[in-house]
Amino acid sequence: MSVITLQVDGRDVAVPAGSTLLQAIRAAGLSVPTLCHLDGLDPVGACRLCLVEVEGSQRLLAACASEASEGQVIRTDTTQLQGYRRMAVELFFAEGNHVCAFCVANGQCELQDVAVAVGMDHSRFPYQYPQRSVDASHRHFSLDHNRCILCTRCVRVCDQIEGAHVWDVAERGSDCRIVAGLDQPWGEVEACTSCGKCVDVCPTGALYANEDTTAEKHPHPERAHQLRRAREHQQWLR
């Protein structure tokens, strides 16, 4: 296995070739906020929270979806990046209807955690208050579009781990939304095995078990990685 070396925030780090910048950052003992990224699922670089500066590059790169290369000099925590990250989180809040007070995921929400991490105490952007619906047609689970940040973890876990491919992304721009089957009520999609993996990995309260009430959701995002490791390496570890 070949190894590459690079520098992250002044720290030298060596990672296996083919690693992502996010893996290199973590190998250096550092972290950047993430939302769409989840170990065990293929990266998409959708949320833009893990943007980093790469010396010599005009563009900011999504660390989760960019491959590390030999000799790179990475900065993860500049004033510019802090500003962009906070702005991205503010836009998440302004774009949907995120009311933590009675949300099932209150206290267990990655969006909430990220907001705290980036120091967001209010949104500078006007709240859009979009008219969105709740799909409660499934016997066990519900999808509240108001709380969806389009990270697509549900789409990927259902496709890549469960293999059912129930979820997809439809429409564009502010109309963009997650759809079940051929844009059907979730409860009518025969492909759904009711495994609940999408609920487990959802970073917000968008997907939840019907019996959960305020602050009762207990997500298990680690399961995606556990299942993948079990399948690919026959390691059933918790």
Binding site: F102, S142, T214
Partner: protein
Amino acid sequence: MARTVVIDPVTRIEGHAKITLQLDDDGHLVDSRFHVVEYRGFETFCEGRPFTEMAGITARICGICPVSHLLAAAKTGDKLLAVQIPAAALKLRRLLNLAQITQSHALSFFHLSSPDFLLGWESDPARRNLFGLMAADPELARAGIRLRQFGQQILELLGGRKIHAAWAVPGGVRSPLSAEARDWILARLPEAQATIRLALELHKRQLDGPLQQEQRLFGSFPSLFMGLVTPEGLWEHLDGQLRFRASDGTIVADGLREDDYASFLAEAVEPWSYLKFPYYRPLGYPDGMYRVGPLARLNVCDRIGTPWADRELAEFRQRSGQVAISSFAYHHARLVEIVACLEAIATLVEDPELMHGRVRCRASLNHHEAVGVSEAPRGTLFHHYRVDDDGLLTKVNLIIATGQNNLAMNRTVHQIARAYIPDPVPAGVEIPEALLNRLEAGIRCFDPCLSCSTHAAGQMPLAIRLVAADGRVLAERCRG
């Protein structure tokens, strides 16, 4: 000549409440109105949400009595699921409501109202508040604060937080009572009982002495009273059935179920207030005026069912009549109810069933419509939900205690204004501080939610307008 008198600052008014006094051409008072000018819209924006969220959403209506909405929403949820909740959950919910009534009544009496009684109606408004009370009688103020803390702490021991704990859920509650929590309650009960004994002695002395005029003039009129009672007619705060009693002691209706509320309650709307005007349907509007809350609960029940509270109830009735018609008696009724709550809490925490682990049942949606009821500190609270096949709300109706006292609060304001402003009102009149304070205190008898939110620091935001027959505002005083 029309003019406006303004008291600064007005920033904390925020349209919470306004009183207008209407004069005819000769300057005689013809009408007085208590306006609530805030609109919150919970019934509308809850539509489309899952019914399981209602406990969490509606608890946010109020920071003082979130438990009342929590319990009404959970009970409505039980009915939608068609479940009978575990016995331990039922008792834990009762414990929660008793603690809630205790803390809210303690807040109303000690923090909000007792400064008027103890420091005097004419005392400096800047000091006529809890801080003034702390300076004048630090022991009483401390005891009152600790009594409220006792109730609040039980809420936290049960639900994990003092305010907005979404602990009661459709199907039961989230967690049982721990042995440590039970021991804490038992250890603090004697102090709470000593405090309420002290407060009762003090208040009864005042009722027999300096507060006699207030008992005659603060909302003293016949009306119906509504509240929950047990099937045996005892005082009740969470389950049971509804009873209407008239001022002459007649039981007008009994054994009513909350599911049928629309058959005996109706709501009128007036263009000058966002607060609806519920009334007893068979008598029409506004003759169907009824009062709810501590006074009504003591009036509708035959007895309370615990020894100390029953002795206090007997004395209450000796003092204020078999059916107390003065709204000023709400204060005394609150203290009697705290006694009832403390006795009930003492009984409950000794009950081994309270510690059972099974406190929640799980079920799917089984009904499309349900009505839940609870006795909030301020009176009977109804939640009425209709849901679709997926459990999403299509219709929400909340009938809140403060609203049900709306007609009586207006009547109280009118009675106080009639008693204390000159007749006729001379031109260029100034509204005296004493009237402002007494009108405020008249409303405060009912402990409406609008006073909860802002009054604890000192004063209820209030605007009083004196309006001539042609609509001109002759005088206005605002306080906030």
